[in-house]
Symmetry: C2
DNA sequence: AATCAATACTTGACGAAGTTAATTAATACT
DNA sequence: AGTATTAATTAACTTCGTCAAGTATTGATT
């Protein structure tokens, strides 16, 4: 395999893309079960898998697990060789870089943080390069088996061109981050919106693995949502999608900076909670709520319910198979969770209420893992 | 072409399906422009189009329109031969059947109505057969060129198997309508949910033609919504999708029969309007509002705004390229329209507000046309 | 132990559906 | 008339799948 192949996806045909996707999202499987699941002949699986095995990306598992009713040749399931290649993922925030090294199954192998004293493009590129070096040239030497870097940025990002159209926290406009970072690091770079990246990670490697439709809701400063429908991410024709934070759930609710009224974010965003609780900061609000202050407890209850209503709206409109709720705001998980569920259950229509809801806090490295997941995906299959 | 071919789709390959879809949704085009748009070689278009021309489904237009800068061989655009085949569409309501004959471009050629004195399955089948006969064996003799019948039913429908799982107005449970109607009429039958059928019609033959994502909102007894995302209809993993009527937009709003509170439908559904206006019926309410009764005018204003908020939720979450608002409720179009727009514009986030909104009343035959559109689609391309 | 049935996988011939490159067709401009 | 330009077709080839036949590896039966 020539170095130039690093720039193209590993899968050269629809079949091999489907095989890689199924193995990554659903774990080791025999060729026959892959064929059944993907609607292919087993001959096609054999043929498509061969070059992937030869290149070291797949391998055969020992035929320990018997599948059938006993008789017959045992299957030798195919599996992804996790340590065949490594990927760097970096999440950019306004004041910090969070970096991880992941293997092919998006398992985090190394973590590093780095403050970001300046948001000037050149400074950020220098810090990305330094962080990448720190991760790759550290005690475990990943350098030789790492060709790709994923970046996750909040804001308006064009993944195909690696362009950051607008990023509020970095105050960037139209920065060709992909090309610049590729030049600075010598790696193949993908750039994606942070929520979409996290959605990809959960859809491929997390609880949403293999689901045909899936939603990820992030709770924090803002309330965001990534959507996967019919197996494909939703981007929105006008560049807007998943704006769950600006659904209006209360006609008498507070005005929102977006011009709307009663937005979920204007009730349940971090600053809205702080304002409503009349406390100094979110940590203070959490502490007072945990101490039992009824005013502040009510603020969290109202916020949780608003989020639940927003999630119910997602369930009613697109009907995802699974919804994961997460984000830095869920460090106060215990204060939110029952009210999110209450709001959801009240407003989810009919069978939409059957949609399983996973509500859990999210380690901050997960955002960087999301960036790596996009990079892994781009390595395995064309586009996304 | 043997009779058995009537059961399979006309398109035998992805390329021919793409060509038919493009010609139906975007009108006559040269082979070269089709190739560019679809990412195919022009040789592939030539080859795929040939059998469709031979079978009489496509034909070449006279090269009247010049395309290029003047020089060069003029294009002879391909076009769908609308009268090659006809399709019957029937919409089933609780007390009436509405039937149409459409040509291949979904243009309505004939219309017929028929009361439905009984909702017993056998009686409905007899009426469908009679209506179909009336349409096909009438003054224009469509019988010889019609092989397919589309049925549209409100409720829970499995298109693939032609099963009506549950239909509230007909009080049906698990009726294999597709097989039964095929046996009764001798036609190839498709069965689809009425809102989805109407969405298909607008997405293929109406204002949403060719859009990658599209939403149709119906206003009437209930408030419904059909969604197309990434070019494919959204069905919902748990069978629920597009339930815009049960988004909660007012925390202090009325309780809804669904168990929720402040649902769009509980504010803007026909019976909610009648109840809030304190009038005898919807016609009465419309009359009083048109006469300037401030109470009733306010009821319509509030209803319109609630619908607008629901539409904004769709725009914020999935970002369709175009939204069509229609339905029998929009016979009172003038009372709703400005308030729908006001609600939408207030709550649409950022670029979502750029989404064009078409608000217009809908002739009742359009529902039957929707049923025919599904049938046409099933004739042209596999699945949907 | 030998055979058989069951299941997994591989192989090679074939076919469907696309590609590229060369050719033919039809027009406008000089 | 000759040439540039664009459209469409044709023929040779490539790719990627299927099908059908065979091989591989096990448990059960005789």
């Amino acid at each position: 395999m020539s170095p130039a192949d690093d720039y193209t996806a590993l899968a050269s045909s629809p079949a091999s893309a489907a095989i890689l996707t199924a193995l990554v999202t659903s774990g080791p499987q025999s060729r026959v079960s892959l064929a059944r699941k993907l609607g292919l002949s087993s001959a096609a699986v054999t043929k498509s898998a061969r070059p992937l095995i030869d290149a070291g990306y797949l391998s055969e598992l020992d035929a320990t697990e018997r599948t059938g009713p006993g008789a017959g040749r045992p299957a030798s399931p195919l599996t992804v060789r996790a340590d065949r290649e490594f990927f760097v993922g970096v999440k950019l925030t306004g004041d910090e870089l969070i970096g991880v090294v992941c293997d092919l199954t998006a398992k985090i192998r190394a973590v590093a943080h780095r403050p970001l004293p300046s948001a000037a493009v050149d400074d950020v590129l220098a810090e990305i390069t330094a962080l990448t070096g720190e991760l790759l040239d550290g005690p475990d030497d990943y350098r030789g088996r790492t060709r790709r870097l994923g970046l996750a940025v909040s804001g308006d990002v064009d993944r195909a061109s690696g362009l950051v159209r607008y990023s509020p926290f970095l105050r960037w406009h139209n920065v060709l981050l992909g090309k610049l970072a590729a030049a600075a690091t010598g790696l193949v770079v993908t750039v994606e919106n942070d929520v979409k990246a996290l959605t990809t990670a959960e859809h491929w490697f997390g609880e949403g693995a293999g689901a045909d439709s899936f939603a990820l809701v992030t709770v924090g400063q803002g309330i965001g949502c990534g959507l996967v429908v019919n197996g494909r991410p939703v981007s929105g024709s006008h560049g807007v999608a998943g704006e769950i934070g600006h659904l209006s759930v209360d006609a008498a609710g507070p005005d929102c900076h977006c011009g709307g009224r009663g937005c979920v974010e204007a009730i349940a965003g971090t600053s809205a909670i702080v304002a409503a609780a009349g406390t100094g900061g979110i940590d203070d609000a959490v502490a007072r709520a945990r101490a039992g202050d009824p005013t502040v407890t009510a603020v969290f209850a109202r916020a949780g319910e608003a989020i639940g209503l927003g999630i119910a709206a997602v369930a009613n409109l697109v009907g995802p198979a699974h919804i994961v709720v997460s984000g830095e705001g869920l460090s106060a998980y215990d204060l939110f969770e029952p009210h999110i569920r209450a709001g959801f259950e009240r407003q989810a229509f009919g069978a939409a209420a059957d949609c399983p809801l996973s509500i859990r806090p999210l380690p901050f490295e997960e955002w960087a893992r999301g960036a790596a997941a996009v990079s892994i995906q781009s390595r395995l299959v064309p586009l996304g």
